[in-house]
């Protein structure tokens, strides 16, 4: 990784202190994203990928708390540890929307229903840039056009409920890109859309990546989307990263049993009618009661004795490709 990473997360732990006990949503996560690269974060729901994204945005508030770890962001020449910033402080607000922007899964409820689309984008612009309202409106219309919304000037005046799901997601993207952020975090942006719209949104994001040279942290549970979008991939399970590496390497040669299980459950045209889809049996354990040793042990077909006592760390299995499983490393 010759280029300095844009963002580097080290041993991040985020726990939720609720009446029902302490939920260890993110239990020691480390990764980095280089400028203009796209990192895919994949895992079943409840594995902590959304919480990680929120942590990077500094949106973790009571009852959640960043227990330990660092989130280092390089911007205009210096490094800031987002994990230490006050969620409601002025500094983090200077980063949100300009350095890092975020789009969400539910376009229906993520836009404020009582404000016009245009006004919400103008607000995003004026929060960070001292330009006149008229200039901001012009920029917003350009953005709407850039994200492929037809008749942008009319759409500007409309309310969220007057747009379709896909159109709304495009508006979200326009809003996020309004201050050309260095990193765009996309928290399952395509999950709520039907396939044809999904493809359009993914093409749009790839295009934006090129035009605005923005790094993207793409969170999804859909491996197909990861294949089409990501440069590198990180597989998360039960609050930890079990495997990471370049996308082609992970798809062609998954090392961690969980990743292999995931790969096995994707239907692909190549071997249509030949291979039976394999399912991973069992259920993801609750974050309130993280089992001893490797989290995947109870469901892992190759589980060994050691897997139930000690939890494996990420170890390199190939250049740039690491996995956290005792199958391919000798316990130290």
């Amino acid at each position: 990784m010759s280029v300095d990473p844009l963002i580097e997360v080290k041993d991040l732990k985020v726990h939720f202190h609720t009446e029902d006990g302490v939920a260890r949503a993110v239990d020691g996560v480390g990764f980095s994203i280089a400028p203009e690269r796209t990192l895919g974060v994949v895992g079943e729901s409840g594995c902590g990928k959304s919480v990680t994204a929120r942590a990077v945005m500094g949106l973790i508030e009571a009852p959640g708390k960043i227990e330990q770890g660092e989130i280092l962001l390089r911007h205009n020449g210096r490094t800031v540890d987002i994990a230490k910033l006050d969620p409601r402080g002025a500094e983090i607000r200077g980063i949100r929307g300009t350095e890092i922007a975020m789009i969400f899964q539910e376009p229906m409820t993520s836009l404020n229903p009582v404000f016009r689309i245009g006004d919400q984008i103008v607000e995003a612009i004026l929060l960070h840039e001292k330009i006149g309202r008229a200039a901001a409106r012009e920029r917003a219309v350009e953005l709407l056009a850039a994200v492929g919304i037809p008749l942008p000037r009319q759409r500007f005046e409309q309310f969220p409920h007057q747009l379709s799901g896909g159109m709304r997601q495009r508006a979200m993207i326009a809003m996020a890109m309004s201050c050309n952020p260095k990193l765009l975090i996309a928290d399952e942006p395509t999950t709520a859309l039907d396939v044809t719209i999904q493809a359009q949104v993914m093409d749009l994001m790839n295009a934006l990546r090129r035009d605005f040279n923005t790094a993207i942290m793409f969170i999804t549970h859909d491996l197909g989307v990861i294949a089409g979008m990501a440069d590198d991939v990180v597989v998360m399970y039960l609050g930890r990263i079990v495997e990471s590496g370049p996308v082609r390497e992970i798809f062609r040669n998954p090392k961690h049993p969980y990743t292999q299980g995931l790969m096995g459950s994707i239907p692909s045209l190549a071997d249509w009618g030949v291979r039976r889809l394999t399912a991973i049996d069992g259920v993801v354990p609750s974050p309130f009661a993280v089992p001893q040793g490797c989290g995947f042990a109870p469901r892992c077909p190759h589980a060994m004795e050691i897997c139930r006592t000690r939890s494996p760390d990420l170890a390199e299995v190939a250049p740039g490709h690491a996995a956290a499983c005792f199958l391919n490393q000798v316990p130290t």
Binding site: L59, R96, G97, M102, S110, P113, V114, F115, A124
Partner: protein, 306 residues
């Protein structure tokens, strides 16, 4: 939108006639004879009959009704049995007094409740929220005559800052507006708090924060605008009640308002005054409700009114 306005204005005519007819029948259904109220308990029947004849009470009902409606259609609401003074002269000034008090106290209630409600929603379930809740609840259960009397004895007599009653200068407005407003503020604060708690839980709040918006913008712009709908309903209701005049506040602060007039006219069976009072009040109430409904559409574009 204009369809809504025209619809409501047109509705006023049948509403007025309906109310007057209903009231006419009601007054003659319930016991109580104005002639006796005028003559007094101990007057002989000859006096009572004389009054009945002089005031036309002895006419058969339909004649009285016909005569009254004829006058109403020409805009004459008749004269009060009691004060023999045209109803319009008694009712109109009273409505203006009550309207002033109603709007000012609701304004006070609105400002106080929005601030307190939002604050207690932001610091949800923390000590500040608990304090605000208890204070609001205490505000609701203190009867106006207790808070009013104590306020007068403390501010007007003990400290001597404010005049006790009447309404000649602005200083006369302070105590009644705060006393009446406090009750409405308490009710509204509770509602603002619960609606704000709802709104702050929604996804677009996370989006707003993700945009880097400061907390007060998130709360007072994004959350509040959405919480406004139920609040507007309650505000409309509160205004309706205070417009009807709070008899107690008006008696305590000697505020010649509509509430006292209406209640007294019912108790003394002064039908023309009751008719006049309720007639004007109905018109204002319908107008107020229309405005509240218009505010609905403006506040929440999802509710189409076409």
């Amino acid at each position: 939108m204009t369809r809504l306005i025209i619809g409501r204005l047109l509705f006023m005519v049948p509403a007025a006639l309906g109310i007057i007819t209903f009231l006419f029948a009601l007054f003659h259904l319930i016991p109580g004879d104005p002639a006796i109220m005028l003559a007094g308990d101990n007057a002989p029947r000859s006096v009572v009959d004389a009054i009945r004849e002089a005031y036309g009470f002895d006419q058969p009902l339909h004649v009285q009704y016909g005569r009254y409606m004829a006058k109403v259609l020409q805009g004459d609401l008749g004269i009060s049995n009691y004060s023999r003074d045209p109803v319009v002269n008694s009712v109109i000034p009273r409505i203006i007094n009550t309207a002033q008090l109603a709007f000012l106290s609701m304004l006070f209630a609105m400002i106080v409740s929005l601030v307190l409600g939002c604050v207690s929603a932001m610091y949800w379930n923390r000590p500040l929220d608990k304090v605000v809740t208890v204070v609001a609840l205490l505000g609701i259960c203190t009867p106006v005559f207790v808070s009013g009397l104590l306020a007068i004895y403390f501010f007007s007599i003990y400290l001597g800052w404010l005049p006790i009653s009447g309404m000649s200068s602005w200083r006369h407005f302070i105590l009644p507006v705060i006393t009446l407003g406090a009750f409405q503020a308490a009710v509204l604060t509770r509602m603002v708090r619960s609606c704000m708690v709802d709104a702050l839980g929604k996804d677009y709040i996370v989006t707003a924060r993700a945009k880097g918006a400061p907390e007060f913008l998130v709360v007072f712009k994004h959350a509040l605008r959405n919480a406004l709908l139920p609040i507007v309903t309650l505000f409309g209701l509160g205004l309706g009640h205070t417009l009807g005049g709070s008899v107690v506040t008006e008696t305590i602060f000697n505020w010649p308002g509509l509430g006292r007039l209406m209640v007294n006219s019912i108790l003394t069976r002064d039908l023309p005054i009751t008719q006049g009072a309720i007639f004007f009040f109905a018109m204002i109430f319908i107008l107020v409700n229309m405005i509240v409904d218009l505010v609905y559409a403006w506040v929440d574009p999802r509710i189409r009114y076409d």
